[in-house]
């Protein structure tokens, strides 16, 4: 493993970063697979992110995946993402197998620090794939989403029904022939019977015996942090089973990505993990930059890192306060929001926005830093640590908090990896893995910081990791302030959007250039790329497919909260209702991030 890693790092150019790390390590994996399965036709595909990608027939899918999951050295234990794509109107698909639809399996091996992507072409009458829930339990929701969004059947799936759309929805939204605007769908009318239909859709029918009670938590409940519904089966106050029901926050962010230009999609990313601010912009612009081959100037990279870390702190502060509130502590949430307010003042001064600044641009950031930013940031860096020490006494060292959280909602490292759990929740299991260290992007390799971990993977550990992450983020920000390079804040490359102001309106050519760049936006060359990043919630990436157009052909958003929430039943079975609330708080999900 160490060998492949160092070889990969040696061959990596700075801009390609993690992707190149993938290439070095895993071109090998495809060759390995070809040797292992001589009868299977692996059609390799070049992608801009360097993740080895191959198309295989649907019959070979399960054996190959099973081999990858447990047969190879450094097995691919995590199903990082599973998504569909409508291939029917894609123009640039030379050398790829004929397909109406395709299904993408994106796997990750932590042992190898490498990813691999397998695609299955689907055509003709039989648009379905076999289930992989037997290999990765986390495939359950992904396959339901596949069915929901594309109408691609999943043979052998234990519970194949819609997940994000309501059960009475007609059509499959991410198919290219499904309208993407309400105005294309005709006038909406509510026939008298439909409200009954909606009611029925919400009915729960879990297996019951005389001693169990079904308790419906949500979609509106103060403990759930957003519209999610959890159907609990209780025996006394013990949780026998919990079934999360999601989709109440679904806004079609992936569909919108096929409509907005590359540039005008940025504000939509802000709202996916709505506590993350520019942490959402970052994976998106990084993926677009990979597709466009844009080099980001050093100053822009450091500004991005600084803003991203500020937002990580902001997100963790909200988490910290609301988690304490879930435990019934009334006060901490006011303190952390007060701190966040000071942080927002900095965000406001720099970006002009607060929660959703939409401030990153393809090739850099929107504007240069304003005069006086340095003092504001430095003041905050001095202000927060004493406050954090106070919260330690108020929350982390409180005996009641410990009694409520230590050993509650435990998950071990192996299960967490199987379930696709990432980010602080994975680190809480004692696994030192942080994309900022392992696959540095946006120049994170230039900063010194530690990866905090906890031992038991319980609620207390998940909180402790995040609290320590706030301190590490402060460290990174201090380095950003100390070492802020000079230079441009945005790339001069033609595909960087929007075009620079100082190069416009000189003559008719620059006028037209600017006009097209603003009204249409850049035409990104065909290709596919993802750039996973470490957001405040976990591993977060935008898998973008360009068909050589002004909009994305397919925008797949891999969010961390989706698999995290999916693991909820595992965490809370056998515990009590108050523990459920503590667990919900501790896994730090955001419904916008789950439902997109």
């Amino acid at each position: 493993m160490g060998l492949t890693l160092s070889a990969a790092a040696g061959g990596a150019t700075h801009a390609a970063g993690a992707g190149a790390a993938g290439t070095g390590a895993v071109t090998g994996i495809l060759t390995e697979l070809e040797q292992q399965f001589p009868g299977v036709d692996f059609v390799r595909q070049e992608t801009k992110d360097g993740i080895p990608t191959a198309w295989i027939g649907r019959e070979a899918l399960v054996p190959v995946l099973r081999h990858l999951e447990r047969g190879v050295d450094g097995p691919f234990r995590t199903l990082y993402d599973l998504a569909g794509m409508d291939e029917r109107v894609r123009a640039n698909r030379d050398g790829l197998p004929a397909a109406d639809f395709s299904v993408v399996y994106h796997l990750r091996s932590y042992d190898r620090n490498a990813d691999v992507r397998l695609k299955v072409p689907l055509a003709g009458d039989r648009v379905s794939v076999p289930t992989v829930t037997g290999l990765w339990p986390s495939a359950d929701w992904y396959e339901r989403e596949l069915w929901d969004m594309f109408g691609i059947g999943v043979d052998g799936h234990p519970d194949l029904r819609r997940i994000l759309m309501p059960p009475w929805w007609e059509g499959h939204p991410l198919r290219k022939d499904h309208p993407d605007r309400a105005t294309e769908m005709g006038t909406f009318q509510l026939p008298p019977d439909d409200d009954l239909l909606y009611q029925e859709a919400l009915e729960a029918d879990p297996a019951q015996d005389a001693r169990t009670v079904v308790l419906n938590v949500g979609p509106q409940h103060p403990g759930t942090h957003g519209p999610v519904r959890i159907i609990l089966t209780l025996r006394d106050e013990l949780i026998v089973d919990a079934v999360p029901d999601i989709g109440f926050h679904h806004r079609g962010a992936e569909k919108i990505g096929e409509r907005q230009t590359w540039h005008t999609y940025i504000p939509y990313t802000d709202r996916v993990d709505y506590l993350g601010g520019v942490l959402n912009n970052l994976p998106y612009v990084l993926s677009v930059e990979r597709l466009a081959g844009t080099e980001v100037p050093p100053r822009a990279q450091v500004i991005r890192v600084m803003l991203a870390e500020l937002f990580r702190i902001s997100s963790h502060l909200v988490f910290y306060g609301t988690f304490a509130q879930d435990l019934g502590a009334m006060t901490p949430v006011f303190y952390t929001f007060e701190d966040r307010e000071r942080l927002m003042a900095i965000i406001e001064a720099i970006t002009g926005g607060r929660m959703h600044p939409s401030w990153f641009r393809i090739g850099g950031v929107s504007q240069d830093l304003p005069a006086g930013w340095e003092q504001m940031v430095r003041d905050f860096l001095d202000y927060l640590p004493p406050r954090l020490r106070e919260y330690d006494r108020l929350v982390m060292q409180s005996r009641v908090v410990k009694a409520r959280t230590v050993g509650i909602g435990e998950i071990d490292k192996d299960t967490a990896i199987d379930r696709g759990i990432t980010g602080p929740n994975l680190r809480a299991c004692g696994f030192e893995w942080d994309l900022r260290k392992k696959r540095p992007y946006s120049g994170y390799d230039r900063f010194e910081f530690d990866i905090p971990t906890a031992a038991r993977g319980d609620c207390y550990g998940r909180v402790a990791v995040r609290v320590e992450e706030i301190r590490q983020s402060l460290r990174i920000i201090r380095q950003c302030v100390d070492q802020m390079p000079s230079g441009p804040h945005k790339s001069e490359q033609p595909l960087a959007a929007p075009p620079s102001h100082d190069r416009m309106l000189h003559d008719i050519e620059t006028l037209i250039d600017h006009f097209l760049g603003v009204s249409w936006g850049p035409v990104v060359p065909p290709g596919e790329a993802i750039c996973p990043t470490e957001s405040s919630k976990g591993d977060y990436g935008y898998y973008l497919v360009s068909d050589g157009n002004v909009t994305s052909y397919r925008t797949r958003i891999r969010t961390p909260s989706f698999p995290h929430l999916q693991a909820l039943p595992l965490l809370c079975r056998g515990l009590e209702v108050p523990d459920l609330i503590a667990i919900l708080g501790s896994i730090d999900f955001v419904m916008g991030d789950v439902d997109r």
Binding site: L327, A329, M330, T331, V577, P578
Partner: protein, 316 residues
């Protein structure tokens, strides 16, 4: 005749004073919590927000008094009334100052304990009669919690009773002329304070309403003034427990220079503020932790306190 008039004055004072204090407490609590939490609290109505009580009362009276069609109507209506009556009745035995109590019972303390037991019915019945799951869970928690904590709440006071040799609250106060009982009966005081928090369903023992888990617990289905009465009941409960702690452990009306009733009110107010500060500082415990804490820690502690007190009294 003057005797009757005096009695009427006593009744009116002991009825209005707790109600006024409970009303004022709604504002004081919110203002104080605000100060503790880096914010203002209600400060718009009146000069410093003190008229917020009136605004709230007007608002609650103006709301639709909705009774869910699935609820058990008579019980649902009776539940809030029970809490108000049982707490107000308890105030009858509290001596405001020397000789000033509505009922100078020689079993005053037992009367208080009896009345506070009645309060359980209110919460349990409110949760039960709502015929809805969250209130039911809240009501069940309340019943178990209040009954469990009542046991050693009463026991924790027996040390004081032994030292004073009486259940009569006035006699107990008179017995503290030399030394407040909070000194020799410190364990009893701590236990009673904790039990008092549990009896009034205050943080960290606010499990019956637990807003982040059970939404509002036993009073989730209540609206308008019925909902308001539960709140008044809670604040009356805090006032009552604080007043009782003043009488039992802090020498009641005893104090130099100022008239007795000012001392009484001053001590009671300070204890109330302590209860509020506890709310700002602590998270909520879990139900099973609460129960095991009660039965496995508090009860043995009380019994030991009782034995030691008895031994000391016998020895001297």
């Amino acid at each position: 005749m003057p005797d009757t008039a005096w009695h009427i004055i006593e009744v009116v004072v002991m009825l209005l004073l707790p109600l006024l204090m409970a009303g004022g407490l709604t504002v004081v609590e919110r203002r104080l919590l605000g100060q503790l939490q880096d914010r203002y609290g209600p400060n718009r109505v009146g000069v410093m927000g003190e008229m917020q009580v009136l605004a709230d009362a007007v608002k609650l009276l103006g709301k639709e008094d909705w009774i869910p069609p699935f609820a058990d109507r008579p019980v649902f209506v009776a539940a809030p009334a029970i809490i108000l009556m049982s707490v107000l009745a308890s105030f009858a035995v509290i001596p405001l100052t020397s000789g000033f109590a509505v009922a100078d019972l020689n079993v005053g303390l037992l009367f208080f304990l009896a009345m506070s037991s009645l309060g359980v019915y209110s919460v349990a019945l409110a949760g039960w009669s709502s015929r809805s799951k969250y209130p039911l869970l809240g009501g069940l928690r309340a019943a178990a919690q209040l009954l469990g904590y009542e046991v050693f709440m009463g026991m924790s006071l027996l040390g004081v009773v032994m030292m004073a040799g009486s259940f009569d609250l006035s006699t107990i106060v008179e017995g503290q002329r030399g030394l407040w009982y909070v000194g020799p009966q410190f364990v009893g005081f701590v236990v009673f304070f904790i039990a008092g928090l549990a009896e009034t369903r205050r943080t960290p023992f606010d499990l019956p309403e637990a807003e982040s888990e059970l939404v509002a617990g036993y009073h989730a289905e209540y609206s308008a003034m019925k909902f308001g009465i539960f709140y008044v009941g809670e604040y009356l409960g805090i006032t009552l427990v604080s007043a009782l702690m003043t009488v039992l452990f802090f020498g009641g009306w005893l104090g130099p220079i100022l008239p007795g009733w000012t001392w009484f009110l001053l001590k009671t107010s300070i204890l109330i503020l302590v209860v509020i500060v506890v709310r700002a500082a602590l998270p909520r415990v879990r139900y099973d932790q609460l129960m095991s804490f009660g039965w496995k820690v508090m009860l043995p502690l009380t019994l030991i306190n009782l034995l030691v007190t008895a031994a000391v009294i016998l020895a001297t």
